[in-house]
């Protein structure tokens, strides 16, 4: 089970450091664990893994398509590969390789796409994936997950050692807002419930989860009771819990660092339309390309703040 922190602050450790450390711990006990990268070890924080396990770490150079195929082949030889690149190059650039060599072939591959959405910041629009989850969403049986903090990330990586299939992990490299107490356990494909509420349910992922919690506090001060949910698995999506909260609250707000088209908002709305149709408002990128700038600037630029969630919540409530 997971426990939610009482105070939400920026974590002291970077997410990439936790990713590397967790994978090293797993690899010490499991000789099948291996890592691949496409000339981004300096960025992914995996240098220590590559130094500790030189025989099980493959730098493929700047060839993401080949890397994904190599990972698929290594899994066919019985290994458990974790392959990393920046989000756009680990998703849209390699869509067919993930589709055919990994998913259609039912192999066992974990793909790590880093720097989700506006966190790509100074790398700019070419490197800013607002579409990675959406591009992969239509691959049958793929699992898409975006861990919100280092505790959830560590649990997820440990869980992935035991799972079989194709997984895309949307990884924030920097420090997340700490939301869960250390040692928290989750369930793949199940929503984490952070805060109960009765007027509106906010389903938020990644860096928007901290904003959602802030928005819920602001709403509470105005006499509005907001539930906060974390569907960290966008696929499979926890339709049952979404329907439960839609029924209880009567409206839903989604919040994502991604294009709402093909993203979490679309997925939640599609799910609720089949289970419990209620007004849904979406906070996210409105069908735009990314651009360069500081992350704080970009959060404002693309309407990804607690204020935007607050306004969306009120709009959703008004539509009940």
């Amino acid at each position: 089970m997971y426990t939610v922190k009482s105070v939400f602050e920026k974590e002291t450790q970077e997410m990439r450091a936790v990713y590397c450390q967790t994978l090293r711990e797993l690899a010490r006990k499991n000789p099948k664990i291996c890592a691949l990268d496409a000339d981004l070890i300096g960025s992914s924080g995996m240098k220590a893994f590559f130094e500790e396990f030189p025989d099980r770490a493959v730098n493929c150079g700047i060839q993401e398509s080949n890397m994904v195929g190599v990972a698929a082949g290594m899994s066919a030889a019985g290994m458990i590969p974790f392959a990393h690149s920046f989000g756009p190059f680990a998703s849209r650039r390699v869509l067919d390789q993930i589709f055919i060599s990994c998913a259609y072939a039912k192999l066992n591959v974990r793909i790590i796409g880093s720097d989700p959405g506006v966190t790509a910041a100074y790398n700019g629009g070419t490197h800013m994936p607002f579409e990675d989850m959406g591009a992969l969403m239509s691959i049958p049986q793929i699992t898409l997950a975006e861990p919100a903090d280092s505790v959830q990330l560590e649990w997820l990586i440990r869980q992935l050692e035991k799972e079989y299939g194709v997984f895309y992990i949307r990884l924030l490299r920097k420090n997340a807002i700490g939301v869960f107490e250390p040692g928290s356990q989750f369930a793949l494909g199940k929503i984490a419930r952070l805060r109960e509420g009765t007027d509106v349910a906010i389903a938020a992922s990644g860096i928007l989860l901290g904003e959602a919690l802030k928005a819920a506090q602001m709403l509470e001060a105005q006499g509005i009771s907001a539930a906060v949910l974390n569907p960290f698995c966008w696929k499979p999506l926890d339709s049952d819990t979404l329907a439960e909260y839609a029924a209880k609250c009567g409206c839903v707000v989604t919040a994502e660092n991604h294009n709402i088209i093909g993203g979490l908002g679309s997925a939640v709305a599609a799910s609720l339309s089949r289970t419990c149709p209620v007004p849904v408002e979406m906070v996210g990128v409105e069908d735009q390309f990314g651009e360069v700038g500081a992350e704080d600037y970009l959060r404002q630029r693309f309407d990804l703040t607690a204020d935007h969630i607050l306004r969306a919540a009120k709009a959703a409530i008004a539509r009940k």
């Binding site: 291996c34 025989d55 099980r56 493959v58 493929c60 150079g61 060839q63 398509s65 080949n66 890397m67 994904v68 195929g69 190599v70 990972a71 698929a72 082949g73 290594m74 899994s75 066919a76 030889a77 019985g78 290994m79 590969p81 067919d96 390789q97 589709f99 055919i100 060599s101 259609y104 072939a105 039912k106």
Partner: protein, 279 residues
């Protein structure tokens, strides 16, 4: 030479069974299936360390048929090796079949990798070779590329990767049959000389007549004993080789035909098989 007589019989059996398999629905990838028949005979008849009774044996040699449309020839080979009954061949491409147009590791006993989206097989083969090396296995990974397939950029990603990783248990082939779907390879997209290209990428490269069983066999022997480089054997072949109809049709990548049209080709292949048995 007795050995090659047996391999010639095996090759002609593969050819006959492949043609009958394709004839059943009156269409299919005839040309590229015919051109790899001798290669498959040498691999499955002699070179590969496999166990048809245990297709998932971990230490087996593996084949990635990256030109996945040559599935029908591979299926005929596997059926003749006893991976599944020969009658299954007549279900090719029919609903619910184990034998889809392009190779599928989940559907067909003995198929080691799913292919069909061209260019991807070189990467999965590299992954198998890296994985088997890490796991301490001595097995070989065989990879069959089409010459048209080499238009794909991913082939050249894999080519540099395999050389950098010194994958000397990866033995690859380019089926240089000089045709792709729309016509002559050189007319659709001129790729230059495959021997020069793979040599420049740092591979151990040989070129042989792809229909000469002994030459193919000896090239594989050479590839096995060299070390430090992935091996490329460029197979000089004829698209549609041994199938009268395909040899007389251009281009012959995918053919539709009536049973009357294909009958002389099957008769000719059966006569070649009979001759091989009597030789």
């Amino acid at each position: 030479m007795e050995n090659y007589k047996k391999l010639r019989v095996f090759a002609e059996e593969i050819r006959v069974e492949t043609l009958k398999e394709l004839a059943h629905l009156s269409f299919g990838h005839v040309g590229g299936s015919m051109s790899v028949v001798e290669l498959l005979a040498v691999l499955y008849g002699k070179q590969m360390n496999i166990n048809p009774k245990n297709p998932q044996w971990e230490d087996r040699d593996r084949l990635v048929m990256s030109k996945g449309h040559a599935g029908p020839a591979l299926y005929a080979t596997l059926a003749l090796k006893g991976y599944f009954p020969k009658e299954t061949l007549l279900t090719l491409n029919q609903g619910g079949t184990q034998l889809p147009s392009h190779c599928d590791r989940l559907k067909t006993p003995g198929v080691d990798m799913t292919t069909g989206s061209l260019g991807q097989g070189i990467s999965t083969a590299c992954g198998l070779a890296v994985g088997n090396r890490i796991m301490g296995r001595k097995s070989f990974t065989y990879l069959v590329l089409g010459d048209g397939e080499c238009d794909e950029g991913q082939i050249w990603e894999g080519a540099s990767f395999a050389a950098h990783q010194k994958l000397d248990r990866l033995i690859a082939f380019v089926d240089l049959n000089k045709q792709q779907l729309d016509g002559k390879c050189d007319d659709v997209l001129y790729m230059g000389d495959m021997v020069d290209k793979f040599t420049a990428f740092g591979w151990f490269v040989q070129k042989v007549n792809g229909h000469d069983l002994q030459a193919v066999d000896q090239a594989i022997d050479n590839a096995k004993v060299q070390s430090g480089k992935p091996a490329m054997i460029v197979l000089d072949t004829v698209k549609g080789h041994g199938c009268l109809l395909a040899e007389q049709t251009f281009p012959c990548h995918h053919l539709k035909f009536t049973s009357q049209q294909i009958a002389p080709s099957i008769a000719q292949a059966e006569a070649a098989l009979e001759a091989a048995r009597k030789a």
